[in-house]
Amino acid sequence: MRRLRLAIVGLTACSGCQLSLLNCEDELPELLKRFDFHFFPMACSPALLDDEYDAALVEGCVSMPHERELLEELRRRSGYLVALGTCAVFGGVAALRNGEDREQLRRHVYDDNQVAVETCDPQPLASVVAVDAGVTGCPPEKEELLRLLAGLIRGALPVGIDYPVCTECRMRENLCLLTERNMLCLGILTEGGCGARCPGLSVPCEGCRGPLVEANLTEALEIYAQKSFDRATVLGRLRRFCPEWQS
């Protein structure tokens, strides 16, 4: 069986998604048999982007011109381009201040130091290139990463998830943190697939996997209001992982 050639790249992000892959320690020997990690600057050197790739897995959002160029280059060189993690899929934490004046933001961080950082509002990958699939999560579940890779071996992309965190939370027979314990849990608006990792530990969902497809924001805000969580608080929480949540 031919080894698939991969490019694994991080743009503006914390590298946690790539790290999640490296944390699949039990599976790494098998992965090395199946995949040629040809361009994976975080893990392998030298890293030369000089080949064609069966798939590129890209973490992070696009916030600088050279990232845009790199992403476009990866798109040209890759059969599949997969957005890895919430930042790549939705913009994520880096996009929290989108819409604010970037010069002011620069001053806020660097004061009057003349640091030449040319940045733009951080964008998800799909606003720059065509993306074949996304694996959301901050970071994605290890199982999801392995399934993505196992799928690629067979030319298959992951099937989208159309249920929220609540689905798996109730499958685990948890009490509802929002309705039964009055906590600001974002599970009803957040894409599932994490196995209700946080609510399973009585920690409210922070919405790290981004918006559920067909999320019913209007009704959810109504329910939050009944629990005395106002609109601004809820939207503020939601936007930490996806700036697209609008009022």
Binding site: A150, G151, I153, R154, G155, A156, L157, V159
Partner: protein, 278 residues
């Protein structure tokens, strides 16, 4: 063997039919019902190991040797990777499932088959069955339409059947692409317009339809205008038939299950139903 467990099958031939559609020939154990005893209009569940399982209509005719023909459009989660299968590859099959076209009812009748796009696949199965016992029917008419001439499936075969006098054939394409190089007598028209070419004896005609769901209401209403009773119109419906045995709950049409009670329904069975035609 339980109907939930696929039996092994091997891809014996792959033929690219159009840019996005292939004809797979599979070979499975001789005599197994999945290959030997299906009826036109029935379907099987095709497994691509490691990827998933999908319902596919039979498009050939049962043969004792255990070979199965399936016409596959590469658009979905499973069918896209299926584009890469080659002779010798292993797949799995379960079936046959569902209710096919009512062949006994067709005896002694004039038959009109109406195929749109990939809908030609199950109707080819029916056509082969009817041609095999051509003496049992009166007229045998096929109306066949597709997006463009290159998407007309089994064209050579159909033209051959026409040349040999087995069938009356009317072809149409949506777009006037390179119709000049296309088959003779191919019109630029939508499927329902082909009905205008027909002069039928509504009291002795049965119609079998398979095509994009969006054309069904128009076809049915035209046929009714031509005097055809609902019970004489059979439609093959597409639904998400995950399990094939009436359990997964995805494929209900009204209160009937497409996988068990269908996928072929008479229009009389569908009257008044919220058959969402997408």
């Amino acid at each position: 063997m339980n109907s939930t467990v696929p039996v092994p099958a091997v891809v014996s031939a792959v033929r690219l039919m159009t840019a996005d559609t292939s004809l797979l020939t599979l070979r499975t154990e001789a005599g197994h019902p999945v290959a030997a005893s299906f009826l036109p209009g029935q379907f099987l569940e095709l497994s691509l190991p490691g990827v998933g399982e999908i319902p596919i209509s039979y498009c050939g005719y049962p043969v004792p040797g255990g070979s199965i023909e399936l016409c596959i459009r590469h658009v979905g989660h499973v069918t896209t990777p299926l584009k890469a299968v080659a002779p010798g590859d292993a797949v799995g099959v379960r079936g046959p499932f569902g209710r096919g076209f009512p062949l006994p009812e067709y005896a002694g009748q004039d038959l009109v088959l109406i195929a749109g796009g990939l809908g030609m696949a199950p109707l080819r199965s029916l056509l082969l069955a009817l041609v095999k016992r051509r003496d049992l029917q009166g007229r045998l008419v096929l109306l066949c339409a597709a997006r463009e001439t290159g998407a007309l499936l089994f064209l050579d075969e159909l033209l051959e059947l026409k040349a040999q006098g087995y069938i009356e054939l009317h072809l149409a394409v949506d777009k006037a692409d390179n119709c000049l190089n296309g088959p003779p007598d191919c019109r630029v028209a939508l499927l329902p317009a082909l009905l205008d070419l027909l002069d039928i004896d509504s009291g002795r005609t049965c119609v079998a339809i398979c095509g994009p769901p969006v054309v069904y209401p128009l076809l049915v209403s035209r046929l009714q205008t031509m005097g055809l009773e609902s019970a004489r119109i059979h439609l093959s419906l597409e639904r998400r038939m995950k399990c094939g045995v009436g359990r997964c709950g995805h494929c209900a049409v009204g209160t009937r299950l497409c996988c068990v009670d269908g996928p072929v329904f008479s229009n009389a069975e569908l009257v008044g139903m919220e058959v969402s035609l997408a």
